[in-house]
Amino acid sequence: MTMHQMPAGDTKPAYNYAYLDEQTKRMIRRALLKAVAVPGYQVPFGSREMPLARGWGTGGIQVTAAIIGPADTLKVIDQGADDTTNAVSIRKFFERTADARTTEATEEATIIQTRHRIPEAPLKAGQVMVYQVPMPEPLRRLEPREAETRKMHAWAEYGLMQVKLYEDIARYGEITKTYDYPVMVNGRYVMAPSPIPKFDNPKMHMSPALQLFGAGREKRIYALPPHTSVKSLDFEDHPFRIQSWTEPCGLCGASDSYLDEVVIDDRGGRMFVCSDSHHCETRREAGHRGTMLGDATASGFVDLSPSTVIPGDRREARDPFRNPTEQGSGMDPGSAVGSARDDGADMQTGVKS
């Protein structure tokens, strides 16, 4: 970044539109075209240094930079939330370098860059999902040799992946993979869907949106064109199932969205909230309310306009084991929802799959 070198008063930045130079963007677009032409196939590309560390979404940012234009509206989410550190800084990055309009509304966005989630609102034709991918090779943990995994993909030798699933069932009685759950794309390539929860896997199937995956550190791009079949791997007698929860979202009462478990005090108190922050807000604005909404509002966890706070039922909704005078103390909204998690390994607590 060379912002500080700009002459005073000159608003033209000292870098190209959307940060990357045109040659690089062309190179990435070529890789994208190939990826779209061969759904699920990992296309190597010359990943560039970006002004943030690898592992923080450099692959997704490069893909977004290669496809964004002045007419686009960008939404960035991290763990489903629009207001987490990484999402905020990536959004700001494109506001500054690409004059991009940004939004938190899934429906308004033309490009949605994401880490760990697919928005709850259904995607539409014309929208582009850009996934940040830490580990593009689904076979990596089973076969350490890159040359060998490429052969396995080339010849569709996917027995080993099934062995992994077999092992899970043999040891734990079920397939324990809950995120980055391998999928078969278009009946041909096994693909890592990036660390989204398996809850989101069915949303990829036959999606009308274009889905692009960028792995900056591993230098791979792959894609799902609209209306591509995406099947989660399973056994005939152990079919794929998504997670479900024993209680609805504590803030908006949604029972059909992906919930995060949030620890709210040091005595075992916890609540479940939608991981898709925009979805949750939209529902609350529409009048839906969860059992813990009152508590969360009182503690500053959720900022609600007074009109939507429904007084009266707060006491009934409260957990009887909690001391009402101490609730909310020690609760830091930033650390509760905004913590950047790298691999999704902790996304499973409190989840019944």
Partner: protein, 268 residues
Amino acid sequence: MTLHATFPDTALEPAPLLSVAGISRFYGERIGCADVSFDLWPGEVLGIVGESGSGKSTLLRCLAGIDKPDAGEVLFRGGPAPLDIYSVSEQERRRLMRTAWGIVHQNPRDGLRMDVTAGGNVGERLMDRGDRHYGAIRERALDWLQRVEIAGARIDDRPRQFSGGMQQRLQIARVLVSEPRLVFMDEPTGGLDVSVQARLLDLLRVLVRDLGLAAIIVTHDLAVARLLTDRLMVMKDGHVVEQGLTDQVLDDPHHAYTQLLTSAVLGV
């Protein structure tokens, strides 16, 4: 050699399963194996014996398609059409190795996935070929574990928790589960103590006879050769010095080296 005369019923099986012609493999100046030719018929067990460094393993690696020889060809007739294993694509060769062929390594660690349970090891070939019913795969695996005398209760144990002999038996189950027509074995009893060896040999004999497998067994142990094989090839310095029916070769060795080899066996 007039081996065909020993199979009067060749009309039933009109062609050998494996035809090997002029296989040679050189390591620079040195000879790995030179000009080896033979036919292997369905259901036949061929032994390759010889001392260390005589080219046995080199030959086996060439035959199994792991290494490419410098000259010669191998024709496999297990499928609908004869297959020259060096001219087909690597994809086809790998498919062959996973289905119609099996390789039992001397060291079970080379043939097993050590961090995968016994059931997963046995089931891998089934899943390779597209089986996707967990219960059915498990049932087959259980059946095969019992056939190689591993208790069914150990299906969810990993190979590292098994003894050496059990690992070797597990490896055999893993290979045979896909019902291959041809199995390559490299010193299958190597490194096992004699009582375990005896049971393994017994088991192999039963399996080979029951399944009508054709097998090529490389060994330096003449007792193993005597027990398991129908026909024997004696190798020395990369060349085949003598071949014939096992009993014939061992009881009436013609070549000086074979005579030396048979006389070197310790009696107990």
